[in-house]
Amino acid sequence: MLYLIEQCLNGIQLGMLLFLLAAGLTLIFGIMDLVNLAHGSLYMLGAYFAATFAALTDSFLAGIGLALLATLVAGMVLEVIAIRPLYGRDHLDHVLGTFGLLLFFNELVRLIWGPAGLTLSLPAEMLSAVQVLPGVYYPLYRLVIILATLMVALLLYALVMRTRIGMLIRAGASNREMVGALGVNIKLLYTLVFGLGAALAGFAGMMQAPLSFVQIGMGENILILAFVVIIIGGIGSIRGAFVAAIIVGIIDTIGRAFLPDLMRHFVSYSAGSSAGPALSSMLIYTLMAAVLVFRPEGLFPAARR
């Protein structure tokens, strides 16, 4: 039972990271109508920056802070150099073009940091466990992730819904020419939005880094999940992305935790050990398939723009 609660919390934590990625993707897609396959690369860059800066400054927090800045800047530079020519083009061109960027970033990281990958260790204070419920202890750091991303989600909501910049962002989504005609610098707006999306992705990457490895290609696996989240939640809907991210996070985590054992009850031990993880990976995709069959517009489709 305790194990179940712990896994649920892990699921929520994974869900929050997925939400960060999905939100960035939806933002960029909604406002610039751009499909960005290199989003996972920014996730990876965030992790690499964090590991590097943390090692340089010998401080986890400084590492995170600097890495956030670096990812923001990297995102904006990328937008100016490589993304701008893609606006207004076919979505296929976006996919292919950003795929080229994905290949580039994987190689660039290999060139700069080598093929082995890095680690990012937590400061000692974060290593303790916190009592979340009577008798239930949960790693402090994972809790930090959940709370931090919740805060980011709220900030995002406030930014998009309540500020003038957010209004411009939303207006840009519905009528680009008008906003441009009003004298707002659309180019700058897009650059900032892209930078924001990059920062969100990078933040997710650096949050995740201490829990697993920092390695080449780490972005792609989670990017697929992020897109699955968007499909399940509903294209263009941030609220849908939030709910779907939690669902996907929980199902994936619980599946990985319990399915192998469950399998072993029904089939042989070895078959259960090998088929279990495979099946739990399939769970999410099965859910996605189900959504596509019964409700293709997603669980919380965005209102028509």
Partner: protein
């Protein structure tokens, strides 16, 4: 300029001629590695042509097309492990399984469009990838050796490199011809129309979904065949066959070579793999130019190499 053979068609003829003569060249120079390299090129060219059927002509970008290389390969591998070595049983089964998988994935994925279609095909491919990793009996993550190539009796001995090469080349040429006819037929017109303007296609009365689905199945079947050949070529199958990066390779081949023609992907396969062979000898970081190069092609030379060549006719 009034000659019947345009620069582009001359180039195509040239490539085919070179492909046909590779074993002869290898025999003469004693460089048997060439046969091995070009067998791989020819097989992946089949896969790239099949991808381009749905991508270039149908506008359906699948990031999970390499899954059929895996399905075809595993069909051969699994049957071989269980003692079934007859190519007459393995190959049709591989193609049928590929067709069924494509039917299932296509039926679900074609309900979406654009990048969502792309990611869903990727997701389904990843699913099969994970299943393959879980198949302990057939090698799991490490893969499995195939000890005996597909048997076709005394007539065709696939363990003979030259014979195998020409079998593959024959299948490539057959694939090109088949796809060419398909693309120009009524069916092909519907597919191309749906790529060009699906809304209009529905407005004039076409139920586009079923045509796209069938096209998706055709492409899967052809790529499954390529998978069969690949497994025979490497005498080895592993989940890595289906990793999304393999699908990415196929996309690069098709785009680089030229998405607008049937032959384009063949050019792309040759170009990419020859480039890989030569450049990796110079530096292990050669791939870093591939990404930006690809982006430039997408931005400025959308028709790929084949497109550039075709433009030279009036150049």
């Amino acid at each position: 300029m009034s000659g019947r053979l345009s620069p582009r068609n001359a180039f195509v003829a040239g490539v085919i001629a070179i492909l046909a003569l590779v074993p002869v060249y290898a025999e003469v120079t004693g460089n048997t590695f060439m046969v091995s390299l070009f067998t791989r090129i020819v097989i992946l060219a089949i896969a790239a042509v099949s991808l381009n059927l749905i991508m270039g002509f149908g506008g359906m970008v699948s990031f999970g097309h390499a899954v059929y290389l895996g399905i075809g390969g595993y069909a051969v591998g699994i049957l071989a492990k269980e003692g079934v070595n007859s190519g007459l049983l393995q190959w049709p089964l591989a193609v049928v399984v590929s067709a069924l998988f494509a039917l299932t994935v296509g039926a679900l994925s074609l309900r979406t469009r654009g990048v969502y279609f792309i990611m869903i095909t990727l997701a389904f491919a990843q699913m099969v990838y994970y299943v393959a990793i879980g198949l302990d009996r057939y090698g799991g993550d490490d893969g499995m050796t195939i000890y005996k190539r597909s048997q076709f009796g005394a007539a065709i001995d696939l363990s003979n490199k030259t014979v195998f090469y020409y079998v593959c080349l024959a299948l490539l040429l057959a694939t090109i011809y088949l796809v060419w006819r398909l693309v120009h037929s009524r069916f092909g017109m519907v597919i191309q129309g749906a790529r060009s303007n699906e809304r209009r296609m529905r407005a004039i009365g076409f139920p586009t979904y079923r045509y796209k689905l069938l096209c998706f199945v055709f492409a899967g079947m052809l790529c499954g065949l390529a998978g069969v050949l690949l497994a025979n070529h490497t005498d080895f199958i592993s989940p890595a066959l289906m990793h999304w990066t393999r699908s990415g390779d196929l996309i690069v081949m098709a785009v680089l070579g030229g998405m607008g023609t049937v032959f384009g992907p063949v050019i792309g396969a040759v170009a990419l793999l020859v480039l890989e062979e030569t450049l990796s000898g110079i530096t292990e970081y050669w791939q870093i130019i591939l990404g930006p190069l690809f982006l430039l092609v997408v931005l400025f030379a959308r028709g790929g190499i084949d497109g550039l060549l075709a433009g030279m006719r009036h150049g």
